[in-house]
Symmetry: C2
Subunit: 648 residues, 2 copies
């Protein structure tokens, strides 16, 4: 557990700071008072019923410090009832996971005494965040002191303050001791064991733990592919016969590992209790706006936005825009090939040192342009998806992921497709694939880990120096105020989107053209091993602690990976059909060859579909356990009704 705040405010009631609420340094006094009152007011009077303390009440040490930093915690009772509201699943006495209820609390496995340590800090922080988010305006028409920050009944106060810049950020505190222990077992000790997924889940929540679980699973799943690929590289097996075998193996393998992941993800989600957790009614996302009206589902007053209008926006603006961007990306690719051809012909006509340099210029320009286009497009996609004004965060995310995915896929793989199927130059394809793969890996590692690490180190040192100045013997433990100051300056982790996107593109490199570059799997495995370490490091030391997010699966990414593996069937069949060895079986007629290739491709696609159907998504023993829970709740309901019914 976190240490007690060392700087004032400990009222003896065992206040444990969980979440930091940082308001703007120049926020108006009345707004600050109003918010803190709201947070600490009882639930009956429309507050959150939480405890709130100013970080340095009157004792701000330097003028630079923001006085409007508050620590929010909650009494044990309040947090437990919050856990019940959220439908949090905890381990029951019989080993199953059940929704926690206060009435039934003594039947939960780890509930002892008054429930101390029953909820993990991450869970407590998630509960506090939920309670803060659901602080809603009642009769207020604007935020006190800010005439322009309009409110209406039901509007989330925190979100409006955030969008108006009155609230800077809300973030959960790290637990220094826990973190040390976690980072030691996770990546510091030299080991041959797996990642401590349960502990990661305990500290960061299910969403992140599933990402790391997927990263680990994906790495192990690629090992057989890599092992099969190594001899191809070592012994220079250039024969296409063997590539055909390799591609066949990969096709089956891709399908099997994706199905396998669904099963192991379900196993994990069951163990963590998120598999059968029912989603509560989803509230509108912060940016959602519209004409005030009554929600047809809840009957509550909230902004409404006509669905047809959104559909028109999506189909008349977003879809054409995305298509235009894809076209642009293809156009840039064609310009690149023209430039490359021109440079090569120049070099061939009169080879000098400068023409040799010139042959590299188009590639470099293209690589840079791709990165810039990805970046610009990402902003455009975020703007467009925001403009589409989705009511739910989940539907916003789905639309955003789809847009970004499609463009990234085109941008990264279009040139490879062109080389493979239009130029039909397998040697160039292999070179290009290797270059792209290795470059993107190096870039990623630098951008993702080393750069933030270096920045963070600099910040840490500065902070330490300041702390040293104050107290000459450096304290064994950092005081809370320093910890908050340090963490407030850390970068914010923006979710697993970019991490999954990276894996998705790597999966594409491995599966789409696996038969021409068997070493790809080896490279990806190596990359993933370092990725585990760098990602673990950045979660522990570079970023603010993120709020934990319950998740039962990797969501839309499962679909994305499956779509990629379907495309891989098509590309690999086409590559095999184009190979000289296969061609030699049909010496007379190219038509026959193509027809056979198409037929086999269709059979493979059908087989893939059948495999997806035949392999159950949830392992049998977990299905049984889920059915048992459902049966028991049905029986309990029946029994209750029998007791309630009048005697006849």
């Amino acid at each position: 557990m976190l240490k007690q705040p060392s700087a004032g405010g400990d009222d003896g009631s065992g206040f444990t700071p969980l979440v930091v609420v940082e308001m703007a340094p120049d926020a108006k006094e009345e707004a600050v008072v109003w918010l803190t009152r709201k947070i600490s007011a009882s639930e009956q009077s429309g507050g959150a019923g939480l405890s709130v303390q100013q970080l340095w009440s009157g004792t701000a040490e330097t003028e630079k410090d923001n006085p409007n930093v508050f620590l929010v915690g909650g009494s044990r009772q309040r947090l437990l009832s919050g856990a019940e509201d959220l439908g949090l699943f905890k381990e029951f006495n019989d080993g199953s996971m059940r929704a926690f209820t206060c009435a039934n609390r003594d039947n939960f496995k780890d509930f002892k005494g008054d429930g101390d340590g029953f909820l993990s800090t991450a869970e407590c922080q998630y509960i506090v965040k939920h309670e803060l988010d659901s602080l809603r305006a009642k009769s207020e028409t604007h935020i006190p002191g800010y005439e322009k920050a309009k409110l209406y009944p039901g509007k989330s106060i925190i979100r409006r303050m955030q969008s108006k810049g009155i609230l800077v950020q809300v973030f959960p505190l790290h637990e220094t001791e826990e973190l040390k222990r976690l980072s030691f077992t996770w990546y510091k000790k030299v080991k041959l064991s797996l990642q401590p997924l349960d502990e990661i889940r305990h500290y960061y929540g299910e969403g992140l733990a599933l990402y790391f679980g997927f990263l680990e699973y994906f790495t192990f799943a690629l090992v057989p592919m890599a092992l099969v690929g190594v001899p191809y590289y070592l012994f220079d097996w250039e024969s296409y016969d063997k590539y055909v075998l390799f591609a066949g193996f990969n096709l089956v393998w891709c399908t099997v590992i994706l199905e396998g992941w669904k099963r192991s993800s379900a196993t994990m989600a069951y163990r963590w209790g998120t598999l059968s957790r029912k989603k509560a009614f989803e509230e509108p996302r912060p940016g959602f706006h519209g004409v005030l009206g009554f929600n047809p589902v809840t009957g509550r007053e909230e902004p409404l936005y006509p669905n047809t209008k959104r559909l028109l926006q999506v189909y008349l603006v977003s879809v054409p825009f995305v298509v235009l961007c894809l076209y642009l990306s293809l156009y840039v690719m064609m310009v690149y090939f023209l430039m490359e051809g021109w440079a090569l012909s120049l070099h061939a006509a009169e080879p000098t040192f400068w023409t040799t340099v010139l042959t590299f210029v188009p590639s470099v320009i293209y690589a840079v342009v791709i990165e810039v286009m990805n970046l610009i497009y990402r902003y455009a996609a975020e703007f467009l998806t925001g403009w589409e004004n989705h009511r739910l965060e989940s539907s916003y995310q789905n639309h955003l992921v789809l847009k970004v995915l499609l463009f990234n896929f085109f941008n990264c793989f279009a040139s490879l497709f062109y080389i493979a199927f239009v130029m039909q130059d397998m040697v160039l394809l292999r070179q290009c694939l290797a270059t792209l793969l290795i470059t993107s890996q190096i870039l990623n590692q630098v951008m993702e880990a080393f750069l933030p690490y270096w920045l963070q180190r600099r910040r840490n040192k500065k902070m330490m120096r300041r702390a040293h100045k104050r107290a000459s013997p450096p304290p064994a433990e950092m005081p809370l105020a320093d910890q908050v100051r340090l963490e407030a300056d850390m970068s914010t982790y923006l979710g697993t989107f970019d991490d999954y996107l990276e894996l998705f593109l790597l999966f594409g490199y491995v599966s789409l053209f696996s038969c021409v570059y068997p070493l790809a799997a080896v490279l990806v495995v190596l990359n993933n091993v370092t990725e585990v370490y760098s990602d673990a490091f950045k979660m522990c030391h570079v970023f603010k602690r993120p709020f934990s997010e319950p998740a039962a699966n990797i969501g839309v990414w499962q679909l994305a990976f499956e779509a990629m593996s379907v495309i891989a069937v098509v590309t690999n069949c086409a590559l095999i059909g184009m190979s000289p060895q296969v061609k030699s079986y049909f010496p007379e007629s190219e038509t026959q060859l193509i027809l056979w290739t198409a037929a086999i491709e269709h059979v493979l696609l059908a087989l893939k579909l059948i495999l997806t159907f035949v392999i159950p998504d949830v392992p049998k023993h977990i299905q049984t356990k889920l059915a048992r829970l459902e049966f028991e709740s049905l029986e309990a309901l029946k029994k209750k009704k029998m007791l309630e019914a009048p005697v006849q």
Copy 2:
């Protein structure tokens, strides 16, 4: 409602006979008494709590009559509590459909006074059937009087008696007046209106109403196809250009109508309250056997059968058997083509009257062999699926449907595929398609409606003659005993399987080769219109009334139709690619043509997939209503918890 029993037994308490239980005429007295006691015993003492009456207690008029025929009914209170147990959905005061509960009964729309007429007779009969089915053995080890009819705790008594032949049949009674009214609005009056689906559902239940809804929807959906197809036939538009247009139209149309059906099926199921009905825990199917053990889900004692053993049976026996049958079917087809070629060559060499006859012989033999093979295979599939020993009726049905579907598809369409893609003879394909379609339609109509109608008429007449003999002035209303006697002799309706299978094959004829025979849609529309009438007639007058079965959709058939429409994309693209007009666009290279065809086919398949994703399966307004219901139940739960929670 049904008339009161005229032959004795009316005890003045308003007993309404709902279901007939017919035991073997030679059933042992003790078993008969035991069963009737079980049925009428109260629920607390392990009975069904229903009322039971002997049809002709002591007054059997002829010696031929079986004395062991019983009428089962239930008190209003008993039926209402049964409706609650089953989670039957009824219309609420606010127009939504909710699970009926006795405590809340006054808030349901049609509940007046003591609930007379609240439940339809079909619902009452379904409840009685459920209560009879769930009569389970407690301490008995065998059925009294039958040492060999073993029982164990939890075994359904009715099912064991049925499997031992002690119980002949259990069937619901028709309501003569209702039926007259229904058959009048359904098919007797000349009209231009739709079928009275709500009334069909009211009388026969949701499963059958959905079948007739699908039949109607399918017919209307084919009308545009038929309209487009007529000019092709009338003006002899033999140009392939136009066929390409037609095929393109059909591809889009197939996808759209299937998605549209999902939506209108959801609308109907919502209106009938089956869409959001939660399935109760499924009991093992009657034929299921195994070693007695404890069900891991319910903890109850019941036969268990290892899943791995079943999987081995499926993959090591059933799958090879099906593949073998498919191979055999292909083999027979090849023999047919050989015979046909031989007959044709004989006729060409020396044409006489006898060789002309001879050219028809192979077709006739093949048609007969196909029918015989379908029949034999159907028995084999039923045997195999029974032997696989599925625990649930639903999984048994899925395995059976899959087996039968696959074989029927091969048997009916293999020759067409062969003619289209191996022989590439479009004229023969058209002839063959027309012959198959028309023959199967005529055969179906005869086998399905006229034959049973004729048999039924004969039986009716015999019965009438007997009744006349007894009472010289024929009574205006048939006495109940005669009605029971009449209905007991009617054939049993074996479910919608064969009806759906027929539609599935028709859909195949329309969609797979639509571009070579545009008149197919016209023929299918005509067939469907008569099908509505003949099916309606057979339900009302040929078969016993079936027990109503709640259903939210057409289940595995939706999948089957979608699979067919995917295959249709492939075949139509291939047919178009083979057309001379398209070939003329690529005069130099056939390879280019095939590549383009394959590319377009892939794009179409992708488009189809995207369309399936983009069109929501449940219409928006119904989604909102469902969400509203769920939200309300969550809120109610919360409020209840608040009230129950101790004041803090």
